[in-house]
Each structure stands twice: as C-alpha cells, then as structure tokens.
C-alpha cells in the first residue's frame, strides 16, 4: 500500500459524492472525514459504506475525505472504488 498516491473521484453535484484519498502511514487505519447534507440522518451509514469498500479491497491505511451531496449507496461505492483505483489499488473484480 506504500505505493498509493492521492486521488479523487466524484463531483459536488446533487446525488453525488466527492471522494479524496490520501495514503496513510502504516498502522494509521482507515480514517474518514465526512461532510454531508444528510449527516445527522445518514452519517453513520455513509461512513460504514465507505469503510466497507476500503476493507473489501484490503486497503488498511488511508485517509478518506468525503463530501456528500445526497448520494445513494451504489454511488458511494462506485466513487470510492474509482478513487481507490485511481490511487493505485488493483480492484478485486468480484467485489465491484
């Protein structure tokens, strides 16, 4: 995971989410900073979705900044996967 680079995917349009990834130091874990228009109602669920995608792709040490504009789960998953791929993660196909 040391070879990962900073990457971004998604937009700030409604129904979308912008994900920015920065590689974390070894042992730092998956750190998520979330800004959302529905933070009070769905903040926990969005964090869980983002963390699950990272875990499923075996990414352990990364800082994820997410700016949400009301994205559905499938959009969140797609944007995190796109950002991970752009960061240099070889995506596991069966989990896409």
């Amino acid at each position: 995971m040391n070879e990962l680079k900073t990457a971004q995917a998604g937009t700030l349009e409604s129904n979308d989410i912008m994900i920015t990834l920065t590689p974390g130091a070894e042992g730092s874990g998956v750190v998520i900073e979330l800004e959302s228009i529905v933070l009070a109602q769905y903040g926990q669920a969005i964090r869980k979705t983002i963390a699950n995608v990272a875990n499923e792709q075996n990414v352990t040490d990364i800082y994820i900044k997410a700016v949400d504009r009301g994205a559905l789960d499938c959009t969140i998953q797609a944007r995190v996967l796109a950002a991970l791929s752009r960061a240099g993660v070889i995506l596991q196909k069966e989990l896409i």
């Binding site: 349009e13 499938c74 959009t75 797609a78 944007r79 796109a82 896409i96």
Partner: protein, 291 residues
C-alpha cells in the same frame, strides 16, 4: 417481441440521472458510457454504471449500456459491465460484421455461467456502417436491432443536418430494410431539438411511416410524444379487429382469402393486423381483442 418505442439516453457519470432512469416510462434506458462521458471520467462512469445496474430498480425499462467503440474502451467496458447483467449493449460506430462478431466474442467471454445472454444493438452512424447494414444485422444471433445515428453520419457525409432530414432519407430506408430482411428491429435516430414538440412528432411520424419500430431519445420530455406516435390508434385497432374477424370467417368457409370494405385481405394484411392487436394488448389499449 420486445417493445422499443423509446430508448432514452442517460449520461453514465451522472448519479442523479442514473438513479431516476426507471421513472420516465421509456421502453428502454441507455446508460451511456460513450459520448456523454469525458475521456478522463470513463473509469468512474464504468464503475457507477456497474453499481447502478446491480442496485437501481429500472422497473419495466430494458437496461441497455452504450459501450465505447472497439478502438477505444470497448474491451474494458464489456469486461466490467456484462457481469452486471444488462439486458443489451448498444455498440457504437459499427462498420462491419466483424465488429459485431468481435463484440459478441468479448461478451460471451465476460458472461457469468447461467446469465441470460446479453443482446446487442448495432448503432450505425457512418457511411460504412450503412453500406454494411444487412451483413451487420445478420452478423450474430445476439443482434436484436439496428439503430441509426444521424449526427455522426451526416458529419461523415459532409452534409448539413436539417430537421426535414432529406439528407438522411436513404440511410433511414436502408437501415429499416436491412433490419427487416434480417428479421430484427430498426430504431431511428434521435430528434435533437428538445424544445420543438411539433418537429419531434413530425419526425417520429416519418420514422413510423418508413417502418422503424422505435426511436432513440435524448430527453425524458420526448417519451410521451414518441409513444403516442408509435402506439396503434383506436382506428387502427378497430380495423385490425375487423381484419381478423373477416379472415376467421373466410377460413371457416374454407377460403384463405377474405374481403373487407371491398379490399382483399391476405396474409401480409393479416400479419399487420396481428401486430397492431399484439401491440394494443401489450399496451393495454384494447380491452377486448379478437385472436
């Protein structure tokens, strides 16, 4: 027979559009990975369309993905999209039977075991594609329709694109005839001025008159108008019912030919009447249908 009166394009990198694709009532929706997506966003759009196919309920709309051409991102599109079970792929810029056969081979390799075969619709939008229309239509058993894309076609011709469409008349008739000869559907080019309702109706009426079975659509506002044109009218349905009654009566009397309003009713007329009644039943336009 699948109903494809309208096939509505949805930009493949727009989550808002993709998640609402099923609410517009189009017979088919096309999740677009080609022209609607900037080259540097192809990867993100591919993942978004894949997730949408697996998650979003598109109701009764057929799920079609327009992939990129073979000489750009088609292989990657097919590899990632086909396992997500789209009903069909719209293949752009098809110019030869070999193009379709190559796509069919890639699709077969990407399909999961037990998955329903993914159909192909060939988009003809170059002079070569039009010239090879029949051979393309017959190129593989997955091909269920030929669609016509007039914007790229007229650009290649060097002709000015007009609302009257004189410059695309011969290409349209070639597409319709080639598809019919191959026993598949033909889908007309989109009408691009979304604010011109009268123009859309006239263009769709011409398409129907030429024999097209549906029309590509670039805006949800176009769907009702296109459906209205392609739906059989009450007059059509009444006529078709009378044709069937007449031929049934003649058959009962030992004849294969009947007469209705002084005109001969034979097999082609019966086939047309049956198609009208089939459509009417499918669309719930006729409560009582003879057949």
């Amino acid at each position: 027979m699948d109903l494809r009166r309208t096939m509505l394009f949805m930009p493949g990198n727009n989550p808002g559009m993709l998640q609402n694709g099923g609410v517009f009532g189009a017979d088919a929706i096309i999740l677009d990975l080609e022209d609607a997506v900037a080259p540097k966003e192809k990867d993100a759009a591919r993942l978004l369309v894949a997730q949408s196919l697996k998650t979003v309920d598109y109701g009764t709309s057929e799920k079609i993905v327009r992939i990129n051409p073979l000489d750009t991102f088609a292989r990657k599109d097919i590899e990632d999209i086909v396992p997500c079970k789209p009903d069909a792929l719209l293949v752009p810029k098809v110019e030869s039977p070999e193009d379709i056969q190559e796509v069919a081979r890639l699709v077969a390799a990407a399909e999961k075991s037990g998955q329903a075969p993914v159909k192909l619709i060939a988009l003809l939008e170059t002079p070569c594609g039009i010239a090879e229309a029949y051979r393309i239509a017959k190129a593989d058993k997955r091909v269920v329709a030929l669609a016509f894309g007039a914007e790229d076609y007229t650009a290649s011709l060097g002709a000015k694109r007009t609302k009257e469409g004189t410059e695309i008349f011969s290409a349209r008739t070639i597409v319709v005839n080639s598809a019919a000869a191959a026993g598949i559907q033909s889908i007309d080019t989109p009408f691009t001025d979304v604010n011109d309702r009268e123009g859309l109706i006239a263009d769709t009426q011409l398409a129907k008159q030429l024999g097209f079975k549906g029309k590509l659509s670039i805006n949800p506002r176009q769907i009702d108008e296109i459906h209205n044109v392609f739906n059989p009218t009450e007059q059509d349905i009444n006529w078709a019912g009378r044709v069937i009654k007449a031929i049934r009566k003649a058959e009962a009397e030992g004849s294969g030919v009947a007469s209705l309003d002084g005109k001969m009713v034979d097999a082609p007329i019966v086939a047309r009447a049956e198609r009208i009644l089939f459509l009417a039943r499918l669309l719930g336009l006729a409560e009582e249908v003879v057949l």
